[in-house]
Symmetry: C2
Subunit: 328 residues, 2 copies
C-alpha cells in the first residue's frame, strides 16, 4: 500500500485550519435560516456575522476535517503532522495550541494581513445532527509554497480533505503535495468531505480518484453523488479498482472496505450519539493509524468504527478520552 522505507510520520494531513464554534439549536432555527440539516455550508463574512449574532451561546473547540484526523492519529500514539493556514490572531493561536498540544507537528506559519482564521458555526440539534456553516477566511490562503516537501516525503500517507479543493491556490498546493508524495513512493489518501464538494467538482474529483489517489474515504451520499446514482451498491461497483483502497462509511450501517477486488463489511460500534461532528474524521484517524501499523483491513475498520463512536458520544470533533485505551 505504501513505501516501507524509513519515515518520520505515519500521516501528514493537509486541510482547512478551523476552530469550531458549537452551539445547541433547534429545528426552527435551521428552517429560519434555510439551513439543510446535516449539511456543510460555506458562508461569507456577512453571513458569518448574521448567523453568529443570532445563534445561542457557544463553545470553541478546534476542528477542521484533516486536522481532526491527524489529531486522532496522534492521540492513538501515531506520528502525524498538519499543513494548513491560520491568521495571526487569537483563533489562530487557539488552533495551533490545540493541535500541537496533542503531539501533532504543525509548522505552517501564521500569516498577517489575510482574512481572520477560519471558523465553523456548528449547530447541533436535539437529534445529535450537526449542521455546519463555515467561514473559510485564512484557510483559503494556503498555497503551494506552504507545502513542506520534507514533511510530505517523510510521511507514509499524505491525507487530503476535499473541502480544500476550492480556491485555485489551494488546488495547486494539493497537486504539489500529491506529486511530491508520488515521487517519494508514498501514498495519497483523499476524503470527499461533503456531497456539495462532490457536486461542485465532480469531474475533477473523478479525475483525482482515477489517476492520483491511492486511498479514498467517502460516505454513502458522497460516493453516490460522485457516480450520479442513488444506489449505493452501484456506486461501490464503480469505485472498485479505481483506487488501491476505498473505504465507504454509512453511519449506523457501518462501513465497507474495498481492496484488490475484495469487500469487507464492518459494523458500526454502538454508542449513545450526542453530536455527530467529526465522525468521519475520527473514523479516518482510526483507519489510517491501523493501516500504517500493519493491522489487517478488517481490524482497521473495527478500530475506525470504535474511534468514530468515541467522538460522536460528546460535543466536539476531537477525542475526549485517551484513545490509546481503544487499541486492541
Amino acid at each position: 500500500m505504501f513505501s516501507s522505507g524509513p519515515f518520520e510520520y505515519h500521516v501528514v494531513g493537509i486541510g482547512n485550519a478551523i476552530v469550531d464554534v458549537l452551539a445547541k439549536t433547534d429545528d426552527a432555527f435551521l428552517e429560519r435560516h434555510n439551513l439543510v440539516k446535516g449539511s456543510m455550508n460555506l458562508i461569507d463574512e456577512e453571513m458569518a456575522h448574521t448567523l453568529y449574532g443570532e445563534m445561542g451561546p457557544a463553545r470553541e473547540i478546534s476542528g477542521g476535517s484533516a486536522a481532526n484526523t491527524v489529531a486522532g492519529i496522534a492521540a492513538l500514539g501515531g506520528k502525524s503532522a498538519f499543513i494548513g493556514k491560520i491568521a495571526d490572531d487569537e483563533l489562530g493561536e487557539i488552533f495551533a495550541h490545540d493541535i500541537r498540544s496533542m503531539g501533532v507537528t504543525f509548522t505552517t506559519q501564521p500569516q498577517a494581513g489575510i482574512n481572520p482564521t477560519a471558523r465553523s458555526f456548528v449547530l447541533v440539534t436535539p437529534d445529535a445532527q450537526r449542521t455546519m456553516n463555515t467561514y473559510l477566511g485564512a484557510s483559503q490562503a494556503l498555497s503551494a509554497g506552504d507545502v513542506d516537501e520534507i514533511l510530505i516525503k517523510s510521511s507514509l500517507i499524505t491525507f487530503l480533505e476535499g473541502y480544500l479543493w476550492d480556491p485555485e491556490e489551494a488546488k495547486q498546493a494539493f497537486l504539489a503535495a500529491m506529486d511530491i508524495a508520488k515521487a517519494a513512493g508514498r501514498s495519497v489518501a483523499l476524503t470527499l468531505s461533503d456531497a456539495f464538494c462532490v457536486k461542485k467538482y465532480r469531474e475533477e474529483f473523478l479525475g483525482l480518484v482515477e489517476n492520483r489517489i491511492n486511498i479514498l474515504f467517502a460516505n454513502e451520499v458522497e460516493i453516490t453523488t460522485l457516480y450520479e446514482t442513488d444506489n449505493f451498491e452501484k456506486a461501490l461497483k464503480n469505485v472498485t479498482e479505481k483506487v488501491d483502497l476505498a473505504i465507504l462509511t454509512r453511519s449506523e450501517k457501518g462501513s465497507v472496505i474495498l481492496s484488490a477486488g475484495n469487500r469487507i463489511d464492518v459494523p458500526a460500534y454502538p454508542t449513545q450519539v450526542v453530536d455527530t461532528t467529526g465522525a468521519g474524521d475520527s473514523y479516518a484517524a482510526g483507519f489510517l493509524y491501523a493501516l500504517t501499523h500493519g493491522y489487517a483491513l478488517e481490524e482497521c475498520g473495527k478500530l475506525a468504527a470504535r474511534c468514530a463512536s468515541e467522538v460522536i458520544s460528546h460535543i466536539g470533533a476531537r477525542p475526549e478520552i485517551d484513545l490509546k485505551t481503544l487499541l486492541p
Copy 2:
C-alpha cells in the same frame, strides 16, 4: 431586602469579563507548575504564555464569576445585565456574543489599545476539581466611567465580585456602583470570590461587609479567612447581623443562610461531579433569581443548590440545560 419600586433588571453584575480555556490535566502537571489544586491564581502575560504552551488541548467557554451569575439568572428567566471590560479582539467578541445570546444586557464597549481580553486557564483534574490561572488583561481597565448609572438604578440588586477588587480604577468603579445603588434605594450584593482575595484585602473587605453590603456570598474558606478563624461556626457568628443576608456555601455540605438572627441550613443537591468550575457563581444565580422573585429564603437556597448541581455536572461554568426546567 430591596426597593420594590419600578425596575428594569432583577440583577446587574459587575466583574471580570473572562473567557475560560478549559483543559483536562493530572495532578503531576499542577505539581510541576506549583499550582495549588482548587485555587484561583492571577498570572501575568509571560506565565500565561508558558502555561498555555504546556497544557493540553482546550475548549473555550465564556466565564467570569459575576458574568456566570447574571447569565444563570437570564437562563432562569430573570432580567439581568453585566458591566465588564473586553478588548477589541476575538476573545472579546466571543465573550460579548455568549453573554448577549443568553439574554443578558451587556453594553460596556470593547476598548482598543488595551491588553487582550481576559482568559482563565482552567485545569480540571480527574477528581473534578478546577484550578484556575487567570490573566486579567482588558478586565483590569474597567473604570468608574464604565459604570452605567441608569443600569444600576434600574436593577433591584447590584452584584459585585471580590475578584475585581484589585486595580485602583476598578475599586473606584465598585464604589461608584455601590453609591448609585444605595442612593436609589437598591441592594448591593458581594461575593468574596476566593480566599486569596480575602487574604489580600481583608481589612477593606471587612469594611465593605460592615458598611456597604446588604447581601454577602462566601464559601467556608473565604468566610473563615475573613474572620481569621479555622472554625466555620465562629466565622458564622461573626458575620451574623453585619449584613441583611449572608449566604455561606460549603460544597457537598450544603449552605447556610443567615438573616435577621435566623439560620437556615440547606442541603446540597446530589449529582455526579465532573467539573466544579462555576459552582459558586451558579449557586448565586439561583439564589438571586429566587430572592428577586419573592421566594422564601429556604426556597432560594434550594433553587441555588439545584443550579449549582447542574453546572458541576459538566465541563464549563455556564448552564447547559434549560434552567427554567429547574423552577419549582
